[in-house]
């Protein structure tokens, strides 16, 4: 019962914050609302028994990623874009169709028999790390995936640096561009 109350509170916050993202004009406000939404989602993770995931959500998403977002928004001052309308014709076309689609999916979802399993495992640090790194019991699958994700992050970082640096206006790059 208490869980439901908490859940409703967190869900209302999350949905409200998401709506704020939709309706805010300045990207910074949007980013802040997004952070709120993410934090409340992290709360829900904890509520249903995946505390480790909740923590990761706060640290990585609400912390690192959104930090990056706000940083970029503030770097590009022009992002406070006055000329661009918030919504246009496409928006008013898209909103009903997405809502209809969501309603349909919800309609279908409601009919599915779903219930929490009492024997489910709490996603603690211990369980997670054992699953990820104890290859003896779970096989090498997750571990490999983990390593690959690491490489992916590294390469994404390199790519980001390269992309952002490329257009800082170095003469050499200009020349190479002309060649092509």
């Amino acid at each position: 019962m208490l869980a439901l109350v908490y859940f409703i509170i967190l869900a209302v916050i999350a949905v409200g914050a998401a709506l704020c993202v939709l309706l805010s004009r300045h990207p910074l406000y949007g980013a802040l609302s997004l952070i709120v939404s993410m934090v409340s989602l992290a709360g829900i993770y904890g509520l249903v028994g995946s505390p480790f995931l909740g923590v990761v959500q706060i640290m990585v998403y609400a912390g690192a990623i959104m930090m990056l977002v706000t940083f970029v928004i503030m770097v590009l001052n022009g992002a406070k874009d006055k000329r661009t309308p918030m919504f246009d014709g496409v928006s008013f076309f898209i909103i009903p169709s997405v809502i209809v689609l969501a309603a349909m999916v919800g309609f279908a979802l409601m009919r599915a028999p779903l219930a929490f399993d009492s024997a489910t495992v709490v996603g603690s640090v211990k369980v997670t790390s054992e699953t990820l790194f104890n290859m003896a019991s779970t096989g090498p699958g997750y571990f490999l995936l983990f390593e690959v994700i690491g490489v992916l992050l590294l390469s994404a970082m390199v790519a980001a640096i390269f992309l952002a640096k490329r257009h800082l206006g170095s003469v050499i790059t200009d020349n190479t561009e002309e060649k092509h």
């Binding site: 076309f93 898209i94 169709s97 997405v98 209809v100 689609l101 349909m104 279908a108």
Partner: protein, 651 residues
């Protein structure tokens, strides 16, 4: 007793064709043509060799004829044909004069074609022609005859259009081939009818004869006479095409565009008589087809009369001879129409000599006058070219039927046979034939008078150059003149010589007996016909002398040799009728080209355009805005899901 193989006969001209053709093609690139001596020798040698073979075979031939099957030609289900040769009384006569006159004319051509750039090519064509003609005559089946039949048509086309730089010659050649083709299709369909009646073996002449005899034996004439009549009529169409009878006669006058020896060889002596040959060859079949025979008689009659009248109006010396040829062929067809095949072949035989002589003489005249063909510019040539004049006058006497000359015997024979053939038709046809003989004498007399008598009407400069033809040309002419005088004595009925009839009897005797059996023949003294014929010839000559002998011949206005005024329409009436057909085809073609094709194209392109427009319409949806595309796709998914959900699919 062993005989020379029959295939030797066509082989020699074929070798000649290949050799000369190779020479012609190889030397075509060179500046100077090949040696005329070599080419001329080759060109005369092969026909002469062929003639020698024919002569040897003719002397040693057994009564029943020689038969030889070379190999199989077509062998498919339903149809089988062999390549085989048949040498009997009929083909003997035909081959003798085809190869004989062919060799003579080849010799004459050496002189006539002297200095022409296509010397070798000309003789290659001549040899090819002789080959085809020999195959036509020697074949033992209709199908192989058809090979020669189209072959001679082809050679005629090639030779008429020999001087192909002039588009007029080409047009004449095309006309000849196409008109002939119409006849050939008739022939082809006739053959098909025959095959349908009695299987492929019936195309063989012996097979056909056996078939007909069997019909009589089984007494089933009435059952097959209708399809046989159809076949006969269709084959007769083929004959009218090749022999220039009504309605397919228009090509022969135009064919005079070719070199004169060609006219002599192909369009007077040999090829055009192949229709008569075919009728005689199929005599047994035709003898039982009364309706077809009647048609043949009347076609021959009208053609003879028509062409004779047309001949009166011509100014071109060769055209006069062309119409005269058509007219004489009409005689032959009349004779064939009353089943007098031996008489008709006899006329073919004599006609070959005197008409070839006339043409060669005309060629010599044209040669002497450096290409002038208009009789209105000739005259008085008897002093300048005496030999030519003599040859032509002898031939003239032969063609008008002056007593003692070849034409006299053969023409009178035909007229006699016509008269006795039946109660009403016979005399009618006889009278027309006699009248035609008078007209023949008139226009031939006109030709001789205008050419050789009176004063020279050409320009003064040209008079200087008039010269007698060289010996190589005169020699064949003289021989032919002898033929024109004496060839008639092979069958001089009035004085009791019937050698020719006897030699033909083995082939056509049966047919004629059959016909005679069904048509009562009353015997009339042949001397009466001879006398009447003589009167007709003399009368015609007299008229000609009266009318043209002293008349001042109007000087030529233009260079045209076309008959003037209404004469043109009178002469070429059949041309107009043909033109109507051609116009019909052209209108049909125009309709196809301009209407049907355009409509089809329009439909095709309309369809294409519709597809294109639809495509363009669809590409409007292919928006450039990524967001809109996404929106569309989501809306689409939503729609699909709604569809699924509300149609109860998921539940």
């Amino acid at each position: 007793m062993t005989y020379l193989p029959l295939w030797f006969i066509p082989l020699f001209p074929l070798i000649g064709t290949i050799l000369l053709g190779t020479i012609a093609v190889v030397s075509s690139g060179a500046k100077k043509g090949p040696s005329e001596g070599l080419v001329g020798t080759l060109a005369v040698l092969f026909p002469a060799l062929s003639f020698a073979v024919v002569a040897i075979l003719a002397c040693t031939m057994p009564e029943a004829g020689l038969r030889e099957t070379l190999c199989n030609w077509i062998d498919i289900p339903l149809f089988r044909a062999d390549i085989g040769f048949l040498f009997d009384g009929l083909s003997r006569i035909m081959l003798l004069f085809v190869t004989g006159i062919g060799s003579l004319i080849a010799m004459y051509s050496i002189g006539y074609m002297h200095g022409d750039r296509g010397f070798a090519r000309f003789f290659a064509y001549i040899n090819l022609f002789l080959f085809s003609m020999i195959v036509l005559v020697l074949a033992d089946s209709l199908l192989l005859t058809f090979l020669g039949w189209e072959g001679v048509g082809l050679c005629s086309y090639l030779l008429i259009g020999f001087w192909n730089q002039d588009i007029k010659n080409c047009k004449a050649a095309n006309k000849a081939f196409i008109v002939n083709r119409v006849g050939d299709v008739g022939f082809l369909l006739g053959m098909l009818t025959l095959v349908t009646i009695g299987g492929s073996s019936i195309l063989n002449y012996d097979g056909l004869a056996a078939f007909i005899k069997m019909i009589f034996g089984a007494n089933m004439v009435s059952e097959v006479v209708l399809p046989l009549s159809l076949a006969g009529a269709l084959i007769f169409i083929g004959c009218t095409g090749k022999s220039a009878q009504i309605p397919l006669l228009t090509w022969l006058p135009d064919a005079m565009a070719g070199p004169t020896p060609v006219s002599a060889l192909i369009h007077a002596a040999t090829m055009v008589t192949s229709g008569v040959y075919l009728l005689a060859r199929l005599g047994l079949m035709f003898s039982m087809l009364d309706q077809v025979l009647l048609v043949i008689t009347f076609v021959g009659m009208f053609t003879a009369l028509w062409a004779a009248i047309a001949g009166l109006l011509q100014n071109d010396i060769k055209k006069v001879l062309a119409y005269s040829t058509i007219s004489q062929l009409g005689y032959m067809f009349m004779a064939a129409g009353v089943c007098a095949f031996d008489a008709s072949i006899f006329h073919v035989f004599t006609h070959a000599f005197f008409k070839a002589a006339l043409f060669l003489g005309a060629g010599a005249v044209i040669h002497a006058l450096a290409g002038e063909q208009d009789m209105r510019r000739m005259g008085g040539l008897i002093n300048k070219t005496p030999v030519t004049a003599c040859v032509m006058i002898f031939a003239f006497l032969a063609i008008v039927g002056f007593p003692g000359f070849a034409g006299f015997w053969s023409k009178d024979l035909i007229l006699e046979r016509l008269f006795v053939s039946g109660p009403i038709v016979g005399p009618l046809v006889y009278v027309v034939g006699l009248a035609t003989a008078v007209i023949t004498a008139v226009y031939m007399g006109r030709l001789i008078i205008m050419t050789f008598f009176g004063k020279y009407r050409g320009s003064k400069e040209s008079e200087e150059h008039i010269h007698e033809a060289p010996a190589v040309m005169l020699f064949p002419m003289v021989i032919l003149a002898f033929g024109a005088i004496f060839s008639g004595y092979l069958w001089a009925d009035s004085i009791g010589i019937t050698f020719f009839r006897d030699s033909m009897a083995s082939v056509v005797g049966e047919a004629q007996a059959l016909y005679a059996a069904s048509n009562a023949v009353s015997h009339v003294n042949p001397v009466i016909f001879a006398a009447l014929g003589t009167v007709a010839a003399l009368g015609g000559m007299f008229i000609a002398w009266k009318v043209f002998g002293h008349a001042r011949i109007i000087g030529v206005k233009g260079a045209s040799t076309v008959p003037e005024g209404s004469a043109a329409s009178w002469t070429f009436l059949w041309d107009y009728i043909h033109c109507a057909f051609i116009a019909g085809v052209n209108i049909l073609a125009w309709f196809c080209d301009v209407v049907v094709e355009k409509v089809l194209q329009a439909i095709q392109w309309t369809l294409a355009a519709i597809v294109e427009i639809l495509g363009d319409g669809a590409s409007v949806l292919q928006v450039r805005k990524v967001r809109l595309q996404l929106a569309f796709s989501i809306a689409g998914v939503a729609l699909l899901v709604m569809l699924v959900v509300f149609s109860g699919g998921l539940v």
